[in-house]
Amino acid sequence: IGLGGVAALALPLQAAAMVDDKIAAFTGGADVGEGGLTLTAPEIAENGNTVPVEVSAPGAVSILLLAAGNPNPDVCTFNFGPLAGAQAASTRIRLARTQEVVAVAKMADGSFVRAAQEVKVTIGGCGG
C-alpha cells in the first residue's frame, strides 16, 4: 500500500466560489460556453506534485488554468502571441487532492469557453 503524498483531507468550503470568482475576473462576467477547448490530463496522477496538463483552443487569445480543489485555485494563464504555432500549451501542475482541473479560453471574438477534467490523486494501490 502507498501511504505516499497524504493529501489535504478537507476541501475548503469556499473553493467552488473561489473558482467562480477567478473565472469571472478573467471573463469580466461574460457568459462562458462550451466546445472548442480541449483539456487533457491523466485520469490518475502519477504524482500529485507534477501532473501533466495540456490545453488547446484553436483561435484563442489566452487560456486560464485553474485547479478547483487546491487551497488556491490559480495555476497559470497562457497568452498566445502572433507567432504562436497553435493556441495550445502543456505544463505540469500541483494538485493537492482528487479534483477538477478547469480551463477557460478567451477566443479572438471576445467570447469564452470552458472545459474541465477530473484528475484522481491517490495515495496508492497495491501491485499484482
Binding site: I1, G4, E43, I44, E46, T122, G125, C126, G127, G128
Partner: protein, 541 residues
C-alpha cells in the same frame, strides 16, 4: 477430498500436457509474473475475486465451482487444482507442486521442437520475489531467463530494483526490452532504454510485438526509486504504435501487456488493430482466450505455474484463426530440463543452507490470493502487531507469493511472500479518519467500475481492524463499521492508533525488514495456526 496421489498422477502424463496440433504459421509462447520462482511451489488460486461494473460475473472474476462450471472442469481434476480454488489441501497432496523454470524449459523446448521459430515472450514481474533474486538484485532471474531465450519482455516490479540497476540489466539483455508507455519523465518523450515494439518474421509473416509496461508503477510502487520514468496507459500512443507497425507491413500485431486483465479488455475495445494481447499483472489463469472485438486476450497465470501457447493462422495480414492451450506446469509430471536444472541449482547453491532453514511449522494452509484476506497475510499482520507492538497492522494486497500446505515453514517460504526492495516494517500513528481514507483510497484502486482506474492488486490486508465494505459504492462510501478488534469498539475518527505495516512507498521509511519480523514471530510461535478471518464483511460482492 480423498484423492490418491497415485491415481491423480496416473491421469496425467507429460505427453498429454504438451500435446498440441500445430496450427497456422505463427506460434507465441507466453509466460508472465514469475516473481522469481525458479523452483516448484504451491499456489492456491483465489476464492474471492470480485468484478465490478461491466466485469461483474465475467472472467477472471469467477472462482471455485462457478469457474469450473463455466469451463466444464470436473471436480477433483487436474484443471480444478491448477486453475480454481476449493479442496486445495487435498488436491495439493494429490497433484503436488506447480512450476519450476526447469519444467518450463522442457515445455518451451517441446513447443520449439514443433515450431522452431515460436516467439517466447515474458510479460514481466520476473526479477522480483525471492531470496536469491533480492540478494542478486535480479541477476539470478536474468541468468535463468537468458537461458530460456525469450524474444522480448515488458516490466513492472523490475523497476523496484531502482533505475540504475534496471538500466544495467536491460542494457545487457540479449532480447528486446519493450514498453510503448515507458517515457522519460523530464521531457515526456519515449524512454531511450525501452523500445515500443519489435518486428519478427515468422513463417513468412511479419509479426510486430508491442510492449506495454505496468501503467501505474509510480503510484503502486515507490516512484523515488525510478524518478526519471513516467508510465500511464497511453492508449492513444498505443493506437499510434499499432498504426505505425501496420504501416510498416505488420501482418500480425501482438501486445505484450502488463496492464492487468480488465484494463486489457478496455484497451482492446479502445485501440483497433491488435490481434493478440498477452495479458499479465493480475495473475489470472484462463483456459481460453477472451475475445474483445477482433482481439484475443490470453491470461497465463503467475509464479511459473503456467505457460500459454497460441498458434495463429495469419493470411494476407489477417488473423484467420487461432489455437490456444494454457499448459499447467505439474512439476511431478513434467521432466525438468537438465541444463536449466543445473543453472538453477548453481544460482541457489551458495544460499542453500539459508534458504532451507526451517523456521517453524504450520497447521494451516498459508495462501495469499483473494480480494480481502489470505492466511499468509493474516500471519504477517499478526507478526506486525506482535513484533512492532501495534494495535493495527496493514499489509499490502499484492498478488504474488506462493502458498504453503501444512508442514515446515522455511526461510525461503517467508521470503517468497515478503521479498522486496522496500520491505521496512514501519510503526506509526494514524488517526481513525486517516485509516478510513487509506481503506477508501485503496478500495477505489480495486473496485472503481472503470478499469482504467484499477491498479490490479487486492485490498490492503488489515490486522486488528475489521470493517464492512460495499464494493458497489463510490469512493468515500464503501467502507463502514471500522472496528478495533481487540476492544470491539468502533474506530474513532479523531483518535490516534498505533499502526504497523510494510511496503510503504515513502522514501526514508524506517523499521526492521518484514521478513525478519515474520521470521521472529514464527520462531516464537513454533507452530502456526491461522483461524478463519471474518473481520471483513463484504456487501454486494
Amino acid at each position: 477430498g480423498n484423492w490418491s496421489k497415485l491415481a491423480a498422477q496416473q491421469a496425467l502424463t507429460q505427453d498429454d500436457l504438451l500435446s498440441f496440433d500445430t496450427f497456422g504459421n505463427v506460434s507465441l509462447i507466453h509466460i508472465t509474473d514469475i516473481h522469481a520462482q525458479l523452483v516448484p511451489i504451491y499456489f492456491r488460486e483465489p476464492s474471492v475475486n470480485i468484478g465490478v461494473g461491466d466485469n461483474r460475473g465475467a472472467v477472471p472474476h469467477l472462482t471455485g465451482g462457478d469457474f469450473r462450471k463455466l469451463y466444464g472442469i470436473d471436480d477433483g481434476s487436474p484443471s480444478h487444482y491448477a486453475l480454481s480454488s476449493g479442496d486445495f489441501q487435498a488436491l495439493a497432496g494429490a497433484y503436488g507442486r506447480m512450476g519450476g523454470l526447469d519444467r518450463v524449459a522442457t515445455v518451451v523446448n517441446s513447443i520449439r521442437a514443433d515450431r522452431p521459430d515460436a516467439i517466447l515472450l515474458d510479460g514481466g514481474d520476473t526479477w522480483h520475489g525471492s531470496y536469491t533474486c533480492y540478494h542478486s538484485q535480479g541477476q539470478d532471474m536474468v541468468n535463468a531467463m537468458n537461458a530460456l531465450k525469450p524474444e522480448a519482455m515488458t516490466f513492472h516490479w523490475e523497476f523496484t530494483l531502482g533505475s540504475e540497476r534496471v538500466q544495467e540489466l536491460v542494457e545487457g539483455l540479449p532480447f528486446a526490452a519493450l514498453g510503448q508507455n515507458i517515457f522519460d519523465a523530464e521531457w515526456d518523450e519515449p524512454a531511450e532504454l525501452f523500445k515500443p515494439y519489435k518486428f519478427f518474421e515468422r513463417g513468412g509473416v511479419k509479426v510486430a510485438v508491442i510492449g506495454q509496461a505496468f501503467p501505474y508503477m509510480p503510484i503502486a510502487n515507490p516512484r523515488w526509486m525510478f524518478p526519471d520514468y513516467s508510465f500511464g496507459i497511453r492508449d492513444e500512443n498505443m493506437q499510434a504504435m499499432v498504426d505505425e507497425v501496420r504501416a510498416q507491413g505488420a501482418e500480425c500485431v501482438v501486445v505484450l501487456s502488463h496492464n492487468g486483465f480488465d484494463v486489457d479488455k478496455k484497451m482492446a475495445s479502445v485501440v483497433t488493430g491488435i490481434d493478440v494481447i498477452l495479458s499479465g499483472h493480475t495473475h489470472d489463469a484462463l483456459p481460453e482466450p477472451v475475445l474483445i472485438g477482433e482481439t484475443i486476450i490470453v491470461a497465463s497465470g503467475s509464479n511459473g505455474k503456467f505457460v500459454s501457447r497460441v498458434d495463429l493462422d495469419i493470411q494476407n495480414g489477417r488473423m484467420m484463426g487461432f489455437r490456444h492451450k494454457l499448459i499447467p506446469i505439474f512439476s511431478d509430471v513434467i521432466t525438468p530440463d537438465p541444463d536449466m536444472a543445473a543453472l538453477i541449482q548453481a544460482e541457489r547453491a551458495p544460499h542453500a543452507d539459508t534458504l532451507s532453514e526451517v523456521i517453524g511449522q504450520t497447521d494451516s494452509v498459508l495462501y495469499r490470493r483473494g480480494n480481502f484476506n489470505g492466511s499468509w497475510d493474516d500471519l504477517i499482520c499478526d507478526a506486525l502487531i506482535s513484533e512492532r507492538e501495534a494495535e493495527i497492522a496493514l499489509s499490502p494486497g499484492v498478488r504474488w507469493g506462493p502458498s504453503l500446505v501444512p508442514g515446515d515453514i522455511t526461510r525461503e517460504d517467508i521470503w517468497n511472500v515478503t521479498s522486496m526492495s522496500y520491505g521496512e516494517a514501519y510503526r506509526t500513528e494514524m488517526t481513525g479518519e486517516f485509516l478510513k481514507v487509506v481503506l477508501e483510497d485503496v478500495a477505489d484502486n480495486i473496485f472503481n467500475p472503470d478499469p482504467y482506474y484499477q491498479q490490479g492488486g487486492d485490498m490492503v490486508r488489515t490486522g486488528g481492524l475489521g470493517y464492512t465494505i460495499d464494493v458497489t459504492k463510490p469512493q468515500g462510501e464503501r467502507i463502514s463499521n471500522l472496528t478495533l478488534l481487540k476492544t470491539g469498539e468502533l474506530i474513532d475518527p479523531s483518535k490516534s492508533y498505533v499502526v504497523a505495516g510494510w511496503a510503504s512507498v515513502n522514501e526514508g521509511t524506517e523499521g526492521p525488514q518484514i521478513w525478519d519480523v515474520v521470521e521472529n514471530h514464527i520462531r516464537k510461535l513454533g507452530t502456526v495456526s491461522v483461524s478463519e478471518n471474518n473481520s471483513v464483511i463484504v456487501v454486494n460482492g
